[in-house]
């Protein structure tokens, strides 16, 4: 797993998401990334970014298996409202979570296009339904900040922190917390 899996994911290239690193300032230059679990935000990291209701968010690129557009989704009655449904991903049935609902954003207008971001979690792969896919960006520790205390309590644990990129903020999300739907 790791960067390779994302790199091998042809779907990403297909989607026109190139792996060009965005032009965020890089004081440490091209220093080698040595990501450790505890001090992850002390190192340069790559984020797969996406948009939700005007917000700019991202998950670690290593956690992303692929990006695709689902044609067919089976709703699951009686399930938590954040569950969009089940999709068939090459013979594997995966659960789709509507990130707008999961994060408490406004509901997506009907008939608006969606994108599916398939992430790897401890319990297998889960599909995250987002509005639009962005680039993969490299972020640097000096841009990191802890989540503001005024942040919605529901997002506690889900938002690991904020990267203050030029012109916009990138919310760094924790995938395990995202898919932990009771």
């Amino acid at each position: 797993m790791g960067t390779e899996s994302a790199a091998n994911s042809d779907t990403m290239v297909e989607r026109g998401v190139d792996r060009r690193v965005s032009n965020a300032p890089s004081p440490e230059g091209g220093e080698r990334r040595t990501a450790t679990a505890d001090r992850r935000h002390l190192n340069n990291r790559n984020y797969a970014t996406f948009f939700l209701d005007g917000h700019y968010l991202g998950v670690e690129v290593e956690k992303v298996q692929e990006v695709f557009t689902a044609r067919d989704m089976t709703p699951v009655p009686l399930a938590s409202p954040v569950i969009s449904g089940l999709i068939n991903l090459r013979g594997q049935i995966i659960t789709a979570i509507d990130l707008r609902k999961r994060l408490g954003f406004s509901e997506r207008p009907e008939n608006e296009e969606i994108m599916n971001l398939v992430v790897l979690t401890e319990d297998g792969v889960v599909d995250l339904v987002v509005d639009k896919i962005g680039d993969v960006v490299a972020v640097y520790p000096n841009l990191f900040d802890h989540p503001p205390s005024t942040l919605d309590r529901r997002l506690e644990g889900i938002v690991e922190g904020v990267y203050k990129l030029e012109g916009q903020l990138l919310l760094a999300l924790n995938t395990e917390a995202l898919v932990d739907v009771g």
Binding site: P77, G91, I93
Partner: protein, 790 residues
């Protein structure tokens, strides 16, 4: 180190195979003591275990195996007869060997326990046996018999040589696991005749060696060369892959059908055939004969019948019937349980049997056969059968059913009570009907794997238990139903029939108190709307359209109870591959999994028991259970006159509780209400009375009948043990005697049922249920009290 581990592992595998056979062989030996081949086979198994122990440094295991072998060797040489006592002691030793092996498997070492006494027991038995028949006390045997620790090493050396000789004779290397292999193969000889057919796969380089040894070992068929041990995990993967292939094929066939292209139809057809065959073949890899489970039973039968002083002959038919390995595992315990029950309680003692005009020995017959894509297993005994009346009486006594219900039960339904939990608390039942010890567990286990259990019994003649289970779990036939254009799969195991309501011929869905029913051949079939259970609104716009849509009923069976599921359409039948739901979707009782349909769409699989539960199908039953449980109060109330207290909460409703449950009726000034521990209380009779607002519990607005400003609240006080709870109601209207004709209520657990009082529908409240919800521990207090009063 690793190699040592793998040797040990292999040793354990070999041993377990041999040991499993031992039980059976011993029992057979007891019947035919003069069967030298059988004795020899047993001897070899034990001998192999003992021999290999020496290599692996397992002194305790070796010690027991050695003692066992000594006896066997004397028996084999005809110096001691094979007696039931002998077999018993040998089986005891085998049990210890099993225990030790299990311990080794778990922890990698022998247990700390001292098995010296067992060895002593074996040696004593041997000495006594030899003394009793001292005619030919050959040197070799006596030295073995007297073997003490000091001599052990030397003897072992002998044994090693013996082993090596044996191995050499069979022209194999002297690698220990291979030797154990030899043991295994030779022991397998009797049942393995079919393998003797020419094996095309025999390896050429070994062929020469083979011919060289043919003369010495001509009888031994080569099982190792025709079988391969495969990890079960790999087989599971294969099955999953084939499942995917089947789906891919279905998708392809569907597209082909749409395109109507004949040029590709040929190859698609070919693919279709191959896939089907492949599916069959792969499924077979997991198939094992039921014999693997049955083999344990002769021992169970022998031990039990001996200890009960009964004579039982075990007959097994269709031992070669194959079923999925995982299923085999799941029926092992239920089957053993049933067999034990049959001997314990079904088959009579020889004397009883003779008095009843039956042959002295009872017969327990196990039958297995395929029928309609299912495995049928029957357990028949010619014992005393089950007295349905006694079962009913016990059920009434235990509060499972009311006496009125019992009267209306058919024999078949009465017999089915045996499977109900609560009738199975061992002692209580044994002195009534005998049967039923844990039969509810048996039933649950069988149902868990999609099977059904039926029982038939003729009092005095015997009992038959029939278990039906599917061939495999991975791929199941399912019916596809549709609501709101969405497909759902229902496993066919619980499907009874499809019914279409014929509106034109006057058939219709009838409603009693919000619950739908359909008259199916004169019986009332409770209906569950799939729309309602799944909280999916019907898409039909007009009322008539909805009715038109809801004319399709799928009749299902959950826990022996039939109910109808209302759906929009009934689609076709498909073989589906069951996939579990992800963690995010666990805990939805009506869904048991998901599957991918032929067109790639994901469909949910419905859980029939969950549907019935959510739809309130079991409510009528719980009504009986509930009323039965409160033995001294409600059980005699069905249809009888009973004193009740009638009150209301809002102005629209009316409720009742049994007067016998009410302690006092009071009225409090709401200004005297205080809070203690976060709850409303009032000072009452020198203590604190916890108050519960019934309106809050039931979710209706309380409407006090008294003048609003007076602030007086009517309160019904209940008392159990040393707990007091006051229920605040809107107004108390009456205490009266009413005929307790209860209609099952729709869904609410706190309502026992509904009755009509003065033309007004009145819900009879299950007061304990309500109080328990706000005051946990209430029910326990009530239990305490009832035991005191008994």
């Amino acid at each position: 180190m690793e190699e040592e581990d793998s040797i040990l592992q292999e040793f354990l595998v070999e041993c377990s195979e041999g040991i499993e056979r031992l039980d059976q062989e011993f029992v057979a030996l007891e019947k035919t003591p003069e069967d030298a081949a059988l004795l020899a086979s047993i001897f070899r198994t034990i001998h192999t275990i003992k021999g290999t122990c020496g290599f692996l440094g397992l002194p305790k295991l070796e010690n027991i195996a050695h003692g066992t072998e000594n006896i066997l060797s004397v028996m084999r040489d005809g110096k001691m007869p094979v007696t039931p006592e002998g077999v018993t002691i040998l089986l005891e030793a085998v049990d210890i060997i099993k225990d030790i092996l299990e311990h080794i498997e778990e922890s990698g070492s022998e247990p700390d326990e001292d098995f010296g006494p067992m060895r002593g027991k074996l040696d004593t038995f041997l000495e006594e046996g030899l003394k009793a028949k001292p005619k030919k006390k050959s040197k070799a045997v006596s030295s073995k018999g007297k073997t003490k620790k000091s001599k052990k090493v030397a003897v072992d050396q002998n044994e090693f040589e013996h082993l090596i000789e044996q191995a050499a004779a069979e022209n194999k290397t002297d690698h220990p696991p291979v030797k154990t292999d030899e043991g295994k193969e030779t022991v397998k000889t009797p049942p393995a005749e079919k393998v003797e057919a020419p094996q095309a796969i025999s390896k050429p380089e070994k062929a020469q060696e083979k011919t060289a040894i043919k003369k010495e070992a001509p009888k031994r068929p080569s099982i190792t060369e025709s079988t391969v041990r495969v990890d079960v995990g790999l087989l599971d993967r294969l099955i999953n892959l084939v499942g995917e292939l089947v789906l891919a094929r279905n998708q392809l066939l569907q597209t082909m059908r749409k395109r109507n292209d004949s040029s590709e139809a040929g190859s698609a057809q070919q693919l279709n055939l191959i896939t089907t065959e492949l599916q069959d073949a792969v499924m077979k890899t997991r198939m094992q004969p039921i014999k693997n489970v049955w083999d344990k039973l002769p021992r169970v039968v022998r031990d039990l019948s001996r200890s009960n002083g009964k004579k039982v002959e075990l007959v097994m038919e269709g031992a070669g019937t194959e079923l999925d390995k995982s299923l085999l595992e799941s029926i092992k315990d239920p089957l053993t349980h049933i067999v034990r029950n049959s001997i314990d309680h079904g088959i009579e003692t020889p004397q009883e049997r003779i008095e009843a005009g039956k042959p002295e020995g009872g017969t327990l017959r196990l039958k297995a056969f395929h029928e309609g894509g299912q495995i049928n297993i029957e357990i028949l005994d010619d014992g005393k059968g089950i007295d349905v009346e006694k079962v009913k009486m016990k059920a009434i006594e235990n509060g499972l059913i009311t006496s009125e219900v019992a009267e209306n039960l058919s024999d078949r339904e009465g017999l089915a009570l045996i499977f109900r939990a609560g009738l199975s608390t061992a002692k209580k039942v044994t002195n009534v009907s005998g049967r039923g010890v844990g039969m509810d567990v048996v039933k649950t286990n069988i149902e868990k794997i999609g099977g059904v259990v039926e029982m038939m019994s003729v009092y005095g003649k015997g009992t038959t238990l029939r278990i039906k289970i599917p061939l495999t779990l991975a791929i199941v036939p399912a019916s596809i139903v549709v609501i709101n254009e969405e497909r759902f799969a229902i496993p066919q195991a619980s499907l009874l029939e499809f019914v279409r309501v014929d509106h034109e011929n006057g058939e219709s869905i009838e409603t009693i108190q919000g619950a739908d029913f359909f008259r199916l051949r004169g019986e009332l079939l409770p209906l569950v709307s799939l729309h309602r259970v799944l909280k999916m609104e019907a898409k039909g716009k007009e009322e008539d359209a909805v009715e038109e849509l809801e004319s399709n009923i799928v009749v299902l069976k959950a826990r022996e109870k039939a109910f109808g599921l209302l759906v929009d359409h009934i689609s076709d039948t498909e073989e589906i591959v069951v996939k579990p739901l992800s963690r995010q979707l666990k805990g939805i009782p009506v869904l048991s999994g998901a599957t991918i349909m032929g067109d790639g769409h994901v469909a949910l699989i419905l859980d029939v028991v969950g549907l019935a539960q959510e739809g309130g199908v079991f409510n009528a039953e719980t009504l009986q259970e509930k009323s039965g449980r409160q033995e001294d109060t409600v059980s005699e109330t069905d249809g009888e006159r009973q004193s009740i207290v009638v009150f209301s909460v809002s102005d629209k409703d009316q409720y009742a509780v049994l007067l016998s449950e009410v302690d006092r009726l009071e009225e409090f000034d709401s200004t005297t209400f205080e809070t203690a521990g976060g709850r409303e209380v009032v000072q009452y009779r020198g203590g604190l009375l916890t108050l519960v607002r019934l309106g809050d519990v039931l979710g209706v607005e309380t409407c006090f009948s008294n003048d609003e400003n007076s602030g007086r609240c009517p309160v019904v006080v209940f008392s159990k043990g040393n707990m007091d709870v006051g229920l605040i109601v809107g107004s108390i209207s009456d205490a009266l005697e009413a005929k307790m004709k209860l209609f099952p209520s729709s869904g609410r657990t706190e309502v026992t049922g509904s009755l009509v009082i003065d033309g007004k529908t009145t819900d009879l409240l299950d007061i304990n249920q309500i109080i328990e919800r706000v005051e946990p521990g209430w029910l326990e207090a009530s239990v305490e009290q009832s035991t005191v009063s008994c």
